[in-house]
Symmetry: C2
Subunit: 348 residues, 2 copies
């Protein structure tokens, strides 16, 4: 178990990120945790392990489960297990199960201990680190939640082997996003040079890709742990467009697909408003497309009002105005409001 990073977050909290070389090593780590630890899996992540720790709850997978009813299940099990304020919640799974386990742990007795174990590429590079917890609510994604950094994150690339190609690609959407947001081109170049090894999930290549990707995320979140300076919100590149698509399509579009689609729209909007150079927009859209994302489909005219309504629910609204993240060039995001005509021109 190697420590990759020790990340300072909100209110003096520190999250340690560890890499584990195999599922065996991960199970040994589970067994070494306090006896009253409580493990929350989804059905997919539970299947990755030959056996589960005794105090476990297995929830159905999927974004539609990211609601209070699931939190209620976690909390009531925790209560019936007699967990104390210093007991440990361990979330094992994709972003949904991790966000929910962390959310439940933040609420239980106003804050129990929490360790997160991402078993999807998306959650390994995105959802787990930074302390954002929550559920979807009233049709809006992650609108209800807390800031509550996990004390540790355990990343084991071997758990990613069972992902479907679609699930794996979802994570690649966030990795590509980090490549655009990085101040240097190491990750961008790494993706360009190692596309095939990445897509066949070569263990070492994937490990290095995760490490480089987390470096970018850490750079942003440590400069703005509570998301109050507008720096961290740049990690939402592609998310305003993407979330609106996901919400409107009832979450049949995955998060990574939504973000990939949303980034393409952000590059187009950037080019149209003169913020992004045409060449950078084009090569960036090509990189997204190279990893197999369907970013060329648009929405129907009849869907546009619902799309704008979903946009209006975005959390980044300040003083009534929704801000989009556009790219001024490599590693240089800017926040900008867009008029309805510009939005229409890139999504229709």
């Amino acid at each position: 178990m190697d420590k990759l990073f020790s990340v300072p977050l909100k209110g003096g909290c520190i999250t340690d990120v560890f890499a584990l070389s195999s599922i065996d090593e991960l199970m040994t780590a589970f067994a070494a945790l306090p006896q009253d630890s409580f493990f929350v899996f989804d059905e997919n992540s539970a299947n990755v392990f030959p056996s589960l720790p005794e105090r476990n709850l297995v929830l159905p997978p999927g974004e539609v489960e990211k609601n209070w009813a699931s939190i209620d299940k976690i909390l009531s099990r925790a209560l019936s297990l007699g967990m104390a304020r210093d007991s440990l919640f361990v979330g094992v799974g994709g972003g949904v199960i991790l966000d929910m386990t962390a959310f439940a742990s933040s609420l239980y007795m106003r804050g129990a201990r929490c360790i997160l174990v991402p078993t999807t590429l998306l959650s390994a590079v995105d959802a787990t680190l930074g302390g954002k917890t929550g559920i979807d609510y009233g049709g809006a994604k992650n609108i209800v939640g807390t800031f509550y950094p996990a004390e540790s994150i355990l990343i084991c690339p071997e758990t990613l082997k069972t992902l479907s190609d679609r699930e794996f690609r979802c994570g690649l959407g966030e990795v590509v996003k980090h490549a655009f947001l990085s101040a240097d081109t190491r990750l961008y170049d790494f993706l360009m040079s190692n596309k095939d090894a990445i897509l066949r999930r070569d263990n070492e290549t994937v490990s290095e890709m995760i490490r480089l990707s987390l470096e970018v995320k850490i750079h942003y979140i440590t400069r703005d742990p509570e998301e109050k300076k507008g720096i961290r919100s740049c990690l939402n590149l592609g998310h305003t467009f993407g979330h609106a698509l996901e919400a409107m399509r009832g979450y049949s579009v995955s998060h990574g697909e939504g973000v990939a689609w949303g980034m393409a729209r952000a590059f187009e909007a950037g080019a149209r408003t003169g913020i992004t150079s045409f060449e950078y927009a084009e090569s960036s859209i090509d990189l997204i497309r190279a990893f197999g994302f369907d970013i060329d489909s648009k929405i129907e005219s009849s869907e546009f009002p619902a799309f704008m309504a979903a946009i209006a629910k975005d959390k980044k609204k300040k003083g009534g105005e929704v801000k989009f993240i556009l790219m001024d060039g490599q590693g240089s995001p800017v926040l900008k409001a867009l008029d309805e005509n510009t939005i229409k021109s890139v999504v229709l």
Copy 2:
């Protein structure tokens, strides 16, 4: 509007406490808040005002309403009002409505703004300050919640005039508790000397009593903002016994009544275990009784198993053991586990 205190709390947060001389002044303060502020009342607190701000929600009163269903009402209204992350929630009422409004505000977009306006004596001296938010869950009080200090607390003693004697006395239970916990005897002496003026709710006497009482609470919470050093938990004097009684009786016992009863039990248990001198226990129990609390009734033998089960759900459990707060003398609380026989001897 006079500023009484500026209280540093968790994570660099500061709560300012203001005193307002009349309901008119309070309504003027409401009108000066941002236009998109959202006011949450209970039916009792709503009746105190000749008119309500436009963006309001009025919830039914009572501890039985302190559940997720009420939080759901607050959050869904906030969402339908289109509140942003920087919008303001204003809770107006007793402890239940304040804890819930603060809880909902802490969850909305992972933390919106929050101002609290206590309209009961209990919430003015107890529930409002310190950042504890939450709901009851699975039969346990305040077991689900967050730490989320309000940015301001507005205290207007004129709103207390409409309280029933029973409600007013509930708050006195916490005031008496603060008198025991204070390092000096100013509040203890003030209560002894002003009993009649307090019970007829003389405005100036009540204001001064609230100020002295808050001073004690502030002393404890600023030394232990996240309740991790065992200092702040001393504010729970009487609460372990009291909460168990409240939970067992289905909350027909009010919080203040429960705490008063619980403090009497804690003094008795302290005397039995040699921690509290017999004389201090006796005079303290007399002070509680002087404000009209029924502290001499006990529970039935048949209720004892349910009582112990409620005790076992207490949040102060660490490493599996429930700790009680006993008094070693004026201003000197100690945490101690009690065996079942000692508990039985004071509650039966």
